[in-house]
């Protein structure tokens, strides 16, 4: 599932559940049946699960476009300098370890 698919899945889940809850409550209240409300809502939860939980194809319409590996090699990360500076600073800030 891509990024936009995840956003879509979350929004779909919230909207569908809320809509089913409103319909279930209204129907239950009007028909005077608590059981009806619970039944409609249960059906709604099952449907929402089927729609939003599995990784359907329509959640994967915007795949990420990664850079080509050859492009990344032209711009190497500046790693060495950062890690060398950090290490001694970390040791001096924790003198208790040396004492024990």
């Amino acid at each position: 599932m891509d990024w936009q698919g995840q956003k879509l899945a979350e929004q779909l889940m919230q909207i569908l559940l809320l809509a089913f809850a409103v319909v279930a409550f209204a129907t239950g209240y009007i028909s005077g049946s608590f059981q009806m409300m619970v039944l409609i809502y249960a059906v709604g939860v099952v449907l929402t699960t089927l729609v939003t939980v599995p990784n359907w194809p329509f959640f994967n319409r915007h795949p990420l476009k990664w850079l080509d590996p050859s492009e990344a090699e032209k711009h190497p990360k500046p790693q060495e300098a950062v890690s060398a500076k950090k290490k001694p600073a970390k040791n001096s800030s924790t003198p208790t370890q040396e004492a024990s």
């Binding site: 995840q6 899945a9 979350e10 889940m13 409550f25 239950g28 209240y29 409300m37 939980v53």
Partner: protein, 167 residues
């Protein structure tokens, strides 16, 4: 939302939160109901009125109980427990309460009833104070909702009197 488990968990959590909200609303909707129950209890006959060997008075009576509790039922009512108690005052205790009959009403269709019965539970005083005693018949009920708080109320019917002599 990136994996199957995450989505299932998010959905379940949200669904249960909404369900709790719906139950709260259902419970609150009971406040729109203003019940107007009615009840009538008639003592048809005193079968027995005796002093036990231990010294306590015991009464056995025939009762006619009729009540209309349909207005107590809403869509959020599971059942109603109802009982009839004899209530009277003695020198020692300001309130004596003796349950004579009880029942469980499972639905609105059964809430309007009429029953002819002898007292289901024994009417025994702690002492011998019952001769010529004025007492109240009280119909108590406890409403048990599907969700929310239980509530109770009663109808007090006065003007009952036990005989002056044992029989």
């Amino acid at each position: 939302m990136h994996s199957f488990g995450y989505r299932a968990n998010a959905l379940l959590t949200f669904a249960m939160t909404i369900l709790a909200l719906m139950c709260t609303l259902a419970s609150l909707s009971d406040n729109f109901n203003s019940p107007t129950p009615s009840a009538h209890v008639k003592v048809v006959n005193i079968n027995r009125f005796q002093k036990q060997p231990k010294g306590n008075d015991e009464v056995s009576m025939q009762l006619n109980i009729s009540a209309d509790l349909q207005s107590l039922f809403t869509w959020n009512t599971k059942q109603v427990f109802v009982f009839v108690a004899a209530e009277y005052e003695t020198l020692k205790n300001s309130l004596n309460q003796i349950s004579l009959w009880d029942g469980i009403i499972p639905s609105k269709e059964h809430a309007k009833f009429w029953i002819h019965t002898s007292n289901k539970y024994r009417f025994i005083d702690q002492g011998s104070n019952l001769r010529g005693k004025e007492f109240n018949m009280t119909l108590h009920w406890h409403v048990m909702p599907k969700t929310g708080k239980m509530s109770a109320d009663k109808i007090v019917m006065s003007g009952y009197r036990l005989p002056d002599e044992y029989r």
